[in-house]
Symmetry: C2
Subunit: 329 residues, 2 copies
């Protein structure tokens, strides 16, 4: 596939480097029979026969980055989790429109490329892709002295998925007062608020070890909600999903609501995880700002009819919380 | 569409800013009836009915950046051409596999985002998309202090196109000795070799004005070969296309040839444009290195049967050159 891009950037996928060999194996493990062509092609090829078999296929695409979490990863020399972050973030962004991922492409750039580090990031991406049945179809690496700060790198990704038109979310015209918001746990701050985190924890981070519980908690990869949402949808219809990213509940829930309705969130309904308490205390951050910057422990919200709440919660293999209700106004 | 991402990044698309208003209009001008959904969605939606109507649709995707040309653009405060660069580079990368573009998504990051500059880049992207009948479906902007050098920015893009399986290029099993290579002119260095260019022209650039002929030549946007290649294909079959990017003829032509064949290039067959002569002279760069780093005036190569050369060249609205031949070895 177009991971010739890695070769061109000095990451020779045929090199004897062990990290690179593991990356190559991980990328190839994402390939399905839908992947056509071979190494050296200019673009990645994906057989669209699956779409032909659908009634009214709609392609859903999203590009994203992971923000300054990359800075933290570089500081502590921990690269693999960033690969999971970018893929899972993208998966969740199209999941809220009802789509399943088809393929993913990445972009990695730095002032100077280090093959072992790039390989670690890409291996993480490939693992997250494979877990979601998503092909890592291509990518580009770029060495850009004078653009990136020395030692820093950036990662962006683009995902393309597909959904039947009739299964698209949100179903805004079905949302009504009395509908219930069910929250699923986040795995940490995901990829939001890291500039603030680095500012308020600057002293603690200066003395932290790369494998300390603090760094573990801050670099915990953004989780994918693909499987729990599939379980939920098999139990009862979901009217809308909100991915709680930058802007928190405050900005992300209203994006899926119809005019005239709003969500009343009960912020006491779930326990705020310790990492957020630490951030809040260290920074003297008010509740309102915490809720606007961080997911505060809930990374995905389902909006469902009140009569479906118990069936959906029972279908999940994990804890969930009733975090709010749709009301007028 | 997901240009809500620009709003989130401080580029409020409803703001009174004139540059932003022009950007918004340019993006909306790329929308076709295939674009579903509206501003505020998490992912961009593209109706795939066109694929349903195809026999064996194959999706072709590619991610790319524009390298350190962004550094030059930032230095001279010229942002719009970079938008054309990234889109046209991506269009050409999937064109060589026979694909036409469906949609494009962008990623723009900097240490600090300047709405007017971002708007100029996006407007350029939108114009290039529209010229190719490609939807600018989404994008993400990221403000990353500590990752990007102050004043610098980076741009990456992902394109998704489609091709009938039977029309995929290259047709390696049809390429034979005696086939002819036809070259189409580049519009400049496109997006390759800019670190070298900046190094060898450092003195000239230090005193250059933003609107000088030198800066014009260096920032000339990467051209799209979509239209000339369509004209060519309407006249006679093309066996393969090579996009002459980083690595020049030396690396890009062999990528499309079958084992046992190579291309013999006649580097005297076309005039090397003045900008490349200037770079070569200023840097004391040998011919071999010039040919490995730069396109040297030819940005796209067609491989065709010898009997089709005249028909194809006659079908083009622009100059072309017979630049070489396929031979054994």
């Amino acid at each position: 596939m177009t991971h010739s891009a890695y070769a061109a950037a000095g990451v020779d996928i045929d090199a004897g480097n062990e990290a690179v060999a593991r990356m190559k194996a991980a990328v190839q493990a994402t390939y399905t029979p839908e992947v056509l062509g071979g190494i050296g092609d200019f673009g990645g090829l994906f057989d669209a026969a699956r779409l032909k078999a659908m009634r009214e296929p709609v392609l859903v695409a999203s590009t994203d980055g992971v923000g300054t979490k990359v800075k933290l990863a570089a500081t502590f020399g921990r690269y693999e989790s960033i690969g999971h972050d970018i893929v899972n973030h993208c998966i969740n962004d199209i999941l809220v429109q009802g789509a399943r991922p088809l393929f993913f492409l990445d972009y990695i750039a730095a002032s100077k490329l280090d093959p072992a580090r790039i390989a670690a990031v890409v291996k993480g991406m490939a693992e997250a892709c494979r877990a979601a049945g998503c092909v890592l179809l291509g990518g580009e690496t770029a060495e850009m002295p004078g653009v990136y700060v020395e030692g820093a790198f950036d990662v962006a990704g683009t995902i393309v998925g597909v959904v039947e038109r009739e299964a698209m979310l949100p179903r805004r015209d079905e949302i009504a007062p009395g509908d219930v918001l069910i929250g699923l746990a986040s795995s940490g701050p995901h990829t939001n608020g890291y500039s603030l985190i680095r500012a308020v924890l600057v002293d603690r981070l200066a003395s932290a070890q790369p494998d300390s519980p603090l760094v573990d908690a801050l670099l915990a990869p953004h989780r994918s909600y693909l499987t729990p949402i599939e379980h939920a949808r098999s139990a009862a219809p979901i009217k809308a999903l909100a991915h709680i990213t930058g802007g928190g509940f405050v900005e992300n829930v209203p994006r899926v609501l119809p005019p005239g309705l709003r969500a009343e969130i009960d912020y006491t309904a779930w326990p705020m995880p310790p990492i957020f308490e630490l951030i809040q205390t260290a920074g003297g951050i008010g509740d309102a700002e915490m809720r606007r910057v961080f997911n505060c422990g809930i990374g995905m919200v389902m909006i469902v009819h009140a009569t479906h709440v118990e069936a959906i919660r029972a279908a999940l293999d994990e804890p969930s919380w009733v975090v709010g209700e749709v009301v007028r106004g």
